[in-house]
């Protein structure tokens, strides 16, 4: 029987005005006490039904966040990544709209650049890099970016989210055609949002069917 350390870690990603961010918390315990790191913790055998459950519990206990989107990323393992010994970290990434992060700020969460994160303990930088790569890649052909747009949004707002994630400007007509093709948005009855000199824009939300499962585009954006 082996005595491997089993943990979960979560790369919590959000979009701020100046780009993609990852949430960091100062560690309460050794190793790396007081150092900013990804939220993480041991699996609790008594109460967790699986690793996903552990990731959700860690985010709620440590940051007060129930993320609208949480996906298993990859498992990181080896004898050297944790000074306590041979360890396995089942890593997840969560997408959270910026508005939802206010309460996390009160709990001490800080945001760092996800594309150029600072030094982090363990292999947390590798976890962040894998999360960013997965998010940017899936943004090209799925509903994934909607989870960063907030509960409701206009099409120009959603297009800006896609553009930030894909790192390129998108053609407005073709973007709208692709969104229609994915058939993933519900108009919010009677809600229009004024947008400067433009005429007011319809407000949408993600259809309930695509809150837990992604909608895919056959040919990409």
């Amino acid at each position: 029987m082996n005595q491997i350390i089993c943990t979960v870690d979560v790369a919590l990603l959000t979009l701020a005005e100046d780009g993609l961010k990852v949430g960091l918390l100062r560690r309460e315990r050794e190793p790396f006490k007081s150092v900013a790191a990804l939220p993480g913790g041991y699996i609790h055998q008594e109460s967790d039904n699986d690793a996903r459950d552990a990731a959700r519990r860690v985010l709620m206990d440590k940051a007060g966040i129930d993320p609208p989107y949480l996906e298993q990323l990859a498992t990181f393992s080896g004898p050297a990544r944790d000074p306590r010994g041979w360890s396995v970290s089942i890593a997840y990434y969560a997408l959270v709209p910026a508005q939802l992060l206010e309460q996390a700020g009160e709990r001490g969460m800080t945001l760092a650049s996800a594309d150029h994160p600072p030094q982090l303990p363990f292999d947390h930088r590798a976890i962040v890099a894998a999360a960013v790569a997965r998010l940017r890649s899936k943004s090209q052909y799925s509903s994934l970016p909607c989870h960063l747009a907030g509960e409701t949004f206009t099409l120009p707002q959603l297009q800006k989210v896609y553009e930030t994630l894909m790192n390129e400007p998108l053609n407005k007509v073709s973007f709208r055609r692709k969104m229609t093709e994915m058939d993933m948005l519900d108009p919010v009855e009677g809600r229009l949002e004024s947008a400067g000199a433009h005429r007011p824009a319809q407000v949408y939300r993600l259809k309930a069917a695509f809150r837990d499962e992604l909608q895919l585009l056959e040919r990409g954006l």
Copy 2:
């Protein structure tokens, strides 16, 4: 400190004349002694450098196979999937051309339908289903199927592999254009293979650069 059981399991996939197959071995120990299951085993903290290393060791020790392609699939976990207690299985899938499986047959490996596997212990059917879904999905836009085609192959042979994985016939001209676009094949100098009434076909192998990393197609097949 937790006492979680940490294992690796491998869904070894190959293509036979009648479709996609998964390799099964009779278990040597309890639980489920003598039952056919995916090759798997504990992580060895003394000797394994990471979970991938453990997966490779398990395949070599139990089946005598060093797979040309091995990728982490997902981690399965929970209190009920293993009768010994709360467990984590870091699952991998391996792609092996049929020719390489001969020695595994001598070690007792049997092949079952990967699309409709028999009853299996633990959550091994869920692991097989996830591996098949990953393979079929990635086949649409990457070099992944080449690892099932053998060390060398003609373009008609490779097209047949892609067609089997994608479950649809492909247009020959468009298939060849996409293969050229991916720029992943080297012709084997001076090797032509006769193909019935057709003129002999050039023999190819995967470029060295794409043996460990996939080559991707921007728009899919």
